[in-house]
Symmetry: none
Subunit: 154 residues, 2 copies
DNA sequence: GAAAATTACCCACAGCTACCCACAATTCTA
DNA sequence: TAGAATTGTGGGTAGCTGTGGGTAATTTTC
């Protein structure tokens, strides 16, 4: 049973099929609140992975973007990059969403994919890329983690 | 349906035909609210691209423009630019709108065109020009980008 | 007013997508 | 533990989408 709605935790291994579809873990789907209408938004992550949002969360981002003035070149560029790679995908009867070829290329996805719950969003990784990124992150300055620790109680 | 109306996301590649027609992605058309009457307004963008608005949204913008102080030179030139080149185009049975030769020239459009959903409007680009503009934008103040990202992206 | 040019509207069609069903493997239940 | 239900994966197909081109209607030009 899930605790709070639109919250995702845990790591799963799933396969991307020939049509670019990938299953969203049943537990994640059950965590979705009704007003999401079985729909996610997929977009580029800041790492080499795909981010998956419940559409309700994404709509908040959209609203904020709508409020940015298009008179500023920086704003326009920011909006363009934030929205350009986003695609709205309701999941089918089997619980799968459709990824765009562009996103599959970006995340270097092949058949096997790791799906990670990241609290308010979901990440989809190529296992190799995830492993490499993890290794890189170990080399980061540990004090960064300490800064974060002051903000978030784990 | 959850998808919010008159809201556009994603990047698509379409072709401008010999008659100056270009397809509006089916997903964008489906997002239009009924009172748009299958009609868009096309005009010059502030970048080297064409802006496409649902007519309902455009009407709001027009009233806002009227309320802007007519004293400021920037406002005057902006209004002149935005309104002067605006054209109303309903889309045909195949979902295509007609672009004016003037706009095609302004956006340096050739056969291949990139269509980008920018939340409340749509942009039409020549791929090369888009690529160049992207490169230019990287030189803009990165800290502003980060500020925006931190505020808006969850 | 007639010819030419332009525009608006219609049809055709290949390729693709959304939707459906099938089935094996796993989990749940009584 | 056996049966039932759910979950993850694969594949088929009807209908839609994007693109090109044709023709009648309208406008422009001489």
């Amino acid at each position: 049973m899930t605790i709070s709605k639109n919250t995702f935790t845990g790591e799963y291994s799933y396969s991307l099929d020939a049509k670019g579809r990938i299953n969203i873990p049943a537990k994640f789907r059950q965590s979705l609140s009704k007003n999401n209408d079985n729909t996610f938004v997929v977009t580029r992550g800041l790492d080499t992975c795909i981010w998956v949002y419940p559409i309700i969360i994404w709509q908040k981002i959209e609203t904020e973007l709508k409020n940015l003035s298009a008179l500023s070149a920086i704003n326009r560029s920011f909006i363009r990059n934030a929205v350009r790679y986003a695609a709205i995908t309701p999941y089918d009867k089997q619980g799968r969403i459709l990824l765009t070829p562009s996103l599959i290329r970006y995340a270097e996805l092949e058949k096997e994919a790791i799906i990670i719950g990241m609290v308010n969003k979901i990440e989809i990784w190529n296992p190799k890329t995830l492993y490499e990124t993890d290794k890189q992150n170990l080399k980061l300055d540990p004090s960064t983690f300490e800064d974060l620790a002051e903000k978030i109680i784990l």
